[in-house]
Symmetry: C2
């Protein structure tokens, strides 16, 4: 593989120039005024795929922003097919004053490339394109068939990917899926993300009156829905940080001794996550579990929003008519979102029984947790590729949130998904001064090239 890796080393400046041009396009999918920029970015990416030898490539528009897809056929007809996923849209750039250089004028400082999209996710898409090009230019062919699917709605809401898969999913027929949109636990530590948590998201309303009333006139004799809501929400967790909803933990899969050891071994990297959150310290959280275990392998419940009564500046002495809360629960295998929703609603009803209030619960979103089978060959191939690139054993980590595409692919193809990512926890993927470590850009390209090599030995 010295030839392929050598090519990447020699052409690093070319790769960086290409990524920089890609990042200059403000493809903010959530802001309607950038709609044209998102399309421009799709066309740019499509052009790059063609330039770098795609046997076919296309732009697939839907109601929202298009999916861009490209295919490179393997030299060997019986080589496995691998679906590579990424996204070319980026987060908004609120708080412009916090950026040290303009978000869409990428700039190198201190060994990083700064700019919106550098790590999330244009940089990681570009690593694959460059790895493909290195194989093509040195060997004249690819060891596997690669089908890139790059969407433009990962940072917003949309149905383009689902529509694309409905129309073209059967043609894709991958033997493995590689998703490059995650982070390593720390600099220099190659990481495979094994799973993500599921979600239950609901909105709770407590109402006691048709309209706000004067807190002087009626205070003490009329039920205050904000107070009832606070009491209910407070009682959803006990003093040990455990969720008190009956049955909540019944289906939670325990960690094996090996998983526990692996997470313990990562404890030294937790501090970076604390810094990334900007927290003075970790919360006490659920008793008996480390921060990583709590973020990755334990379910949790968080209040995402509260609203009741008078919330402007100043004084208004009212008893509010109603109070609202938004609640997100993060689930782990084998919790079932529907069962958890049912148990939660029943528990909320119990907690407000006998109070002079009306409770309503709206179920807004839900998703199942995902955990990869670490014994699949594709995972082992990725481990070997990362070892060859970084010279160091891979660690297994998890993602506390959800990656919608992962769920979609896993459900659709039933094939192993490898979360093969090169971000870092402090690279501000959704914040100001997003950046990508240039070393990781280099190592990421090499890892991708090596991954194709390793996957080529996988039986179809």
């Amino acid at each position: 593989m010295d030839d392929v890796l050598g090519f990447l080393e020699q052409n690093f400046d070319h790769a960086l120039a290409g990524l920089t041009a890609f990042c200059r396009i403000p493809s903010i999918s959530a802001v309607p005024s950038h709609r044209h920029d998102v399309m421009r970015c799709a066309i740019h990416l499509h052009g790059a795929m063609m330039r770098y030898g795609a046997t076919k490539a296309g732009i697939y528009p839907d109601w929202g922003h298009p999916v861009v897809s490209g295919e490179w056929s393997a030299g060997r007809p019986d080589a496995p097919t691998v679906l590579v996923y990424g996204h070319y849209d980026v987060q908004p750039v609120d708080h412009l004053e916090a950026w040290q250089s303009p978000p869409f004028e990428p700039e190198i400082r201190d060994g990083y490339l700064y700019g919106r999209g550098t790590v999330d996710d244009k940089g990681q898409v570009w690593m694959h394109l460059m790895a493909i090009e290195a194989w093509r230019r040195t060997r004249g062919e690819l060891p596997i068939t690669i089908k890139m699917v790059v969407e433009g709605e990962e940072e917003s809401e949309g149905t383009s990917l689902v529509s694309f898969l409905a129309a073209h999913g059967k043609e894709l027929a991958p033997d493995a899926i590689v998703i490059s949109d995650t982070a390593m636990v720390a600099r220099g530590v190659p990481t495979i993300t094994l799973g993500m948590r599921g979600l239950c998201y609901l909105e709770v309303e407590v109402e006691s009156l048709p309209a706000d009333v004067h807190s002087g006139t009626f205070g003490g004799a009329v039920e205050n829905p904000a107070q009832v809501l606070c009491r209910v929400l407070a009682s959803l967790k006990n003093h040990y940080g455990q969720v008190t909803i009956p049955g909540f933990y019944d289906s939670v899969r325990s960690l094996s001794g090996r998983e526990r050891q692996e997470l313990d071994a990562l404890a030294c990297y937790e501090e970076q996550f604390r810094l990334a959150a900007g927290a003075q310290q970790f919360s006490r959280g659920e008793w008996g579990y480390s921060p990583f275990t709590r973020m990755w392998r334990r379910p949790t419940l968080d209040i995402c929003g509260l609203r009741s009564g008078f919330i402007e500046e100043g004084v208004k002495t009212i008893i509010p008519a109603r109070a609202h809360a938004k609640i997100s629960m993060r689930l782990v295998p084998d919790q079932d979102p529907k069962e958890i929703m049912n148990a939660t609603e029943e528990h909320l009803r119990l907690l407000t029984q006998g109070r002079a209030v009306r409770l309503s619960v709206k179920r807004l979103d839900s998703g199942r947790p995902y955990l990869a089978d670490r014994n699949r060959l594709a995972i082992a191939a990725a481990q070997r590729a990362l070892f060859r690139a970084f010279g160091r054993e891979t660690v297994f980590a998890y993602e506390g949130g959800s990656i919608p595409a992962l769920k979609t692919f896993a459900d659709m193809f039933g094939k192993p998904c490898v979360l093969f990512g090169f971000g870092l926890p402090d690279e501000q993927s959704h914040g100001p001064n997003e950046r990508l470590l240039l070393d990781n850009f280099r190592l990421g390209m090499k890892s991708c090239a090596l991954l194709y090599d390793e996957l080529s030995r996988m039986n179809k």
Copy 2:
């Protein structure tokens, strides 16, 4: 007194026409675009005072809306001087669609005069003007000296009354103060309001992060300030509805046996207050006390507002950076607002100790509770006047909220204040379809005329 009361009876239609004209002026003090209407209303009232024989009258502008003042000298030079307070400004008229007739086109239906200001407080101001006129027209002179002070900022915020009193307070030198801006406990039940509760209003902020973070990525390991706030607020009251702030009840004056009996006797009127609040049932509230006792003679704590994180439509999975609450506490004699503020802040700090959060407490407003000495002659005079008008014993009630002017007068003059009001709990003084029972308009005018008679026998 048959002559004076007879005059009022015969001239009822004239009185009603005058009140109707007064109520046509949309003197909404809190809405800047009605500034001119408020001034027009002040001029209208000033004109009426002059027309009804005021020996002097004036409009006293300040930064805000003016105070209108009029004086009628007694025939007898040693007669007592009584300050009569009311206000000519009115509440806004939000939710116009809920009004059955336009708020500023007074209309008679089912024995009520409907319209904004009919009961709060133009109707009650007009009762005094008509009572004065009846005395003047039948006897040629008044039995007491009356100084009316009618402000235009009771329903908004302003300093005009305080400025007016600073400039003219000494000239007023009343022997008693009569405030007509309260309600009877029920139809046909003459009521003197003996006291009002005080206030501590504060804003609490709990902060754990510099910015919102993803509830998936960090949920379980980072302190959620909304959760901490809910836990803190929930713990401010125990299962018995008692406030748990240490020392909160230390200075609360117990009810005497007689006061307890009086409140028990009023229990049959509580239902009307529940209906006025629109509540399905009263709250459990503080254990061992009736609704009236809880509203009038017991301190309480209410959440007036809550705000944290994402409060729009839909889903946003965040751990909020901070959470806010507005809290109002209603105090009773002899609680001291400053001591209660201190105890509350100290307790809040204790409750958040050891949590990874920063707590800040802002003190926004406070006021001392007020309780009249029921043995003052002016109170007895008012009781007799109401008995003569209604043919029924007066009951003593209280006001759960605050009347800023009462506090101002009580502190300034150290003279008895008589809260002598003719509203009803269901007359929607701040809501749509505000109304005044015509029977009470009639009885109110007669009560005022009789009150002047009774007060004239009071020693200076």
